[in-house]
């Protein structure tokens, strides 16, 4: 990288880091929400069966 390796690769590392972090946090939130909703749904099914 002609003496600029540190600057170029740091910039690209920050780029990869920021984009990956955003994607992972979005996917993680989705997984947690779906788990929460399916838990509530199965709870409701049990409650419905009791009454």
């Amino acid at each position: 990288m002609g003496g600029y390796a540190f600057y170029v690769w740091s910039a690209y590392a920050v780029f990869v880091g920021v984009l990956t972090a955003n994607l992972i946090s979005a996917l993680r939130r989705r997984r947690l929400l779906l788990r929460e909703l399916s838990k509530t749904a199965s709870q409701q099914t049990i409650d419905d069966a009791k009454t």
Binding site: F15, L37, A41
Partner: protein, 244 residues
């Protein structure tokens, strides 16, 4: 058009449509991102003045454009949310803020890493850099204002008003390099006379811009779908989806 707009306002329609689009958008993002990176880092020749350091531009310019573009998307949806009380536009506005902040941060950091070898300093308080830093604070302000208010509708209203006030900063950032004599260079791509950039460098840059746009759409839709599903959890379709 209006019927489509109306349908899009329906949470279930939005959830289904975005779910069908996401795999395609995600694939296109990956293809553009890899093509742009390969072209920008391997194929494009070094610059005759800046050497290899100019390769930072392939992420700096798209990130900086996105920081402005996302703000306009956020302001437009905030305005629609304030005027017509459309829930979906509130969700879009809310999820634009963290993404916009990320791209602004990325634009600032990559700019600093380019500035150090080229200008000899990481930071100067010139008009372009300062107004872009203000943009970051605006995004962070919108995020913290929204999270400080418990009721989601009131939070959306307050954040929407702050967003609209902050729109003044956007033309300031855009024209700062023309209005003031800044260290930051003037516009290169949007000039109407002869191209100021060689095509071997312009193409990878434009591909990266498309890749950034697609990436933004993908993450925005992923986040917005979560909010829609969470808000609609009592509705029949959301409960059917949860049981599946």
């Amino acid at each position: 058009m209006w019927i489509w707009f109306h349908k899009l306002g329906s949470p279930k329609y939005f959830y289904d449509l975005s779910g069908r689009l996401l795999p395609w958008l995600g694939g296109a993002t990956a293809v553009c991102m890899l093509a742009g990176l390969y072209w920008g880092l391997v194929v494009a020749p070094p610059d005759y003045q800046q050497g290899e350091s100019y390769r930072i531009i392939f992420i700096h310019v798209p990130a900086a454009w996105m920081s402005l573009f996302i703000y306009m998307v956020m302001a437009t949806s905030a305005a629609i949310g304030l005027i017509w009380k459309m829930k979906l536009s509130e969700v879009i506005a809310a999820n634009c803020a963290p993404l916009g902040a990320s791209f602004t941060f990325l634009a600032l950091v990559t700019g600093m890493l380019w500035g150090k070898p080229m200008w000899g300093t990481y930071w100067v308080w010139d008009a372009r850099l300062t107004s872009e830093l203000i943009l970051l604070f605006l995004y962070l302000g919108v995020i913290s204002l929204r999270s400080a208010i418990e009721d989601p509708r009131t939070a959306a209203r307050a954040a929407g008003i702050l967003t609209l006030v902050g729109v003044v900063n956007i033309p300031i950032i855009h024209y700062s390099v023309t209005w003031w004599n800044t260290l930051h260079q003037g516009p290169t791509i949007s000039r109407f006379d002869s191209p100021a950039m060689d095509l071997s460098m312009l193409w990878p840059l434009l591909i990266m811009v498309v890749a950034f746009m697609l990436y933004f759409t993908v993450v925005l839709l992923l986040r917005a779908r979560c909010d829609v599903l969470s808000r609609e959890r009592q509705s029949a379709w959301a409960r059917a989806l949860a049981r599946a």
